[in-house]
Amino acid sequence: MTYPPAASDPQSAVPLLEVTELSTSFRTGRGLLKAVDRVSFRLGRGRTIGVVGESGSGKTVLARTVMGLLAGSNVEKTGSVRFEGQELLGAPNSELRSLWGARMAMIFQDPMTALNPVMRIGRQITESLRLHLDIDRSEARATAVSLLAQVGIPSPEERYGSFPGELSGGMRQRVMIAIALACSPRLLLADEPTTGLDVTVQAQILDLLGSLQYERNMAMVLVTHDLGVVATRTDDIVVMYAGRIVEMAPTSRLFSSMAMPYTEALLASTPRLSNPSHTRLAAIEGRPPDLTALPPGCPFAPRCRYAQDLCRRAAPPLVTAERPDHLYACWYPLGARTGPAPVSHSVSS
């Protein structure tokens, strides 16, 4: 996949983020759980990639692995995550810590639990500022207040001293954005930044993120289970299922000619204004597979209405379609599903 180089950037040969064959598994009581399975993608400076998939498809695990936040004796990671050319996978904690908050930041899925309930929100912003930027207390305070103003919090001076419990969900999410953007990171990993908020607030938050991103020329990985959210706000889209990338394409291309039945089903289940998103997905028929014991064929086959024998026997590889920037993993892609035999693939490595 190629990206138009950002003309002003001398380092453009190296993408900001390059994830190659990244896998993350958890050792659980029931066996090895492959939450992320050989995922590869690239992200250029200032650009946005959407990661979409239903609940449990591994989006959060992917985002956290990229960030390097998942660590522990029961986690196994393989592959490579390069940030500005620097390998992050296996990098020592001290090295990661100097990046975290400063050059890459994360917005967590649930604003209700991701803020420290017993710390004033002002402090939660300034501690990041004071750690990474060499500024004194009053400067940090002023910066924090202006950040609160930027993310659209009314009377930021007063809110500076509030506890998270005193704010609404939307306000908390804004605070999280302020924290994440405090040190102007190059890369923002936004993990479902709007799930659980009501629809109008969702749009506000996403617009806010978009404009802040534009101002700062910041790249963003926007994780969501809602294809509608990424439709207008991303350059590229990655569709995930059972920890794997099952389709990947530039946004407009994906919507104009989607290849995966799963992507189609996701789109069909996209919440509309009439049914707010916290009535969770009008979910796809059937249950996601057990990640500790995947079936031999396509993991989506048991739920796929187009599935045929081959789908249940062999897992389809991730291949390119007519266009080199459109990849999908399906034996019988949409639109080509006329003949009984699978279309011939030109397998791209």
């Binding site: 958890f26 009581g29 998942l70 522990g72």
Partner: protein
């Protein structure tokens, strides 16, 4: 730093089961079985050793009369002697056999400890189940009363009552038993509440089972693990309370031996100049009590982990 992903497996067996219910039923059953066998193994040798020690102590207390022991109140000619073949643990200031007194002395701790908790369970446990089952006004009132009683410092109350009422084995047991009821009430109530709204209880209720039947057949078996593990720790707590009273000379008066009053006696041994003090008088009852308490706590704690009862915050 803790990594957030440490598999504090299984986090909570109950919620675990409910999420697993979404999975294939067969898979869940298999997982549940392996989990149980896994846990049984995890009780560990220390648990069984401790349980063995508790049983041994209780048996010795029950059969103290028929065991080949010396009369615990017989005053021999050898005073303040160290351990010997004639007196395994030596003798006290009055020439009584410490070994025999330690074994007979366990009776007080055991009777008071288990007796008081039994009384507490009968009172607080019953009320706790009833309050949690019926909720409503009964629950509100008993709950409020339990809070008030809990705020009352138990030891001070017990000391006061004992002072004005003179101690005997049964009175001490009764008083501590009543004093422990509010806490037991809270534990049993919390445990019952967590089951009272479960499907199987609801099902039984809607199927027209009598309340009594639901309480005894459905709820009791489920809260039993919680109750048993907390009760063992409770027994240890009561034994400490009785020991403190005895040490202050406020529990069962001599010459009946008890671990607490033996330690009380030993004070005189500590006041004397080094050559004349009798450390054995301190060491043996202290060790007997220590072992009994630590094994009770250990067994209770292991059971608590085994049944995955969290340290309930009340």
């Amino acid at each position: 730093m803790t990594d957030p992903a440490v598999p504090v497996e299984p986090m909570d067996p109950r919620s675990g089961v409910s999420t697993r219910a979404a999975d294939a039923v067969a898979g869940a059953a298999v997982a549940a079985i392996t989990e149980v066998t896994d846990r049984r193994r995890r009780l560990g040798w220390l648990f069984w050793l401790s349980l063995g020690w508790i049983v041994l102590t209780i048996l010795a207390a029950i059969f103290a009369n028929v065991l080949p022991l010396q009369d615990p109140n017989l005053q021999s000619a050898t005073l303040n002697a160290g351990p010997s073949t004639a007196h395994f643990f030596g003798t006290d200031q009055l020439g009584r056999d410490i070994f025999s007194r330690v074994i007979f002395g366990s009776r007080v701790s055991i009777v008071v400890g288990f007796g008081a908790i039994a009384i507490g369970l009968a009172l607080g446990g019953t009320l706790g189940m009833i309050a949690a089952y019926y909720r409503g006004t009964v629950d509100t009132i008993v709950n409020a009363v339990s809070y008030v009683l809990l705020a009352f410092p138990a030891l001070v109350a017990v000391i006061a009552i004992v002072t004005f009422w003179k101690a005997s084995l049964w009175k001490i047991t009764l008083i501590i038993g009543i004093a422990s009821a509010p806490l037991i009430f809270r534990i049993v109530r919390a445990a019952t509440l967590s089951y009272a709204t479960r499907d199987f209880v609801m099902a039984a209720r809607t199927l027209g089972a009598t309340s009594r039947r639901v309480l005894v057949k459905e709820l009791l078996p489920n809260i039993l693990p919680t109750v048993v593990s907390f009760s063992l720790i409770g027994v240890a707590t009561v034994i400490v309370l009785e020991g403190s009273l005895a040490f202050l000379g406020l529990s069962i008066p001599g010459p009946t031996p008890s671990w607490g009053n033996m330690l009380n006696q030993s004070r005189t041994g500590l006041n004397t100049v080094p050559g004349q003090s009798n450390p054995w008088l301190v060491i043996f009852p202290a060790a007997a009590m220590f072992l009994f308490l630590i094994t009770l706590n250990l067994v209770g704690d292991r059971l608590r982990q085994h049944f995955d009862v969290s340290e309930i915050k009340l």
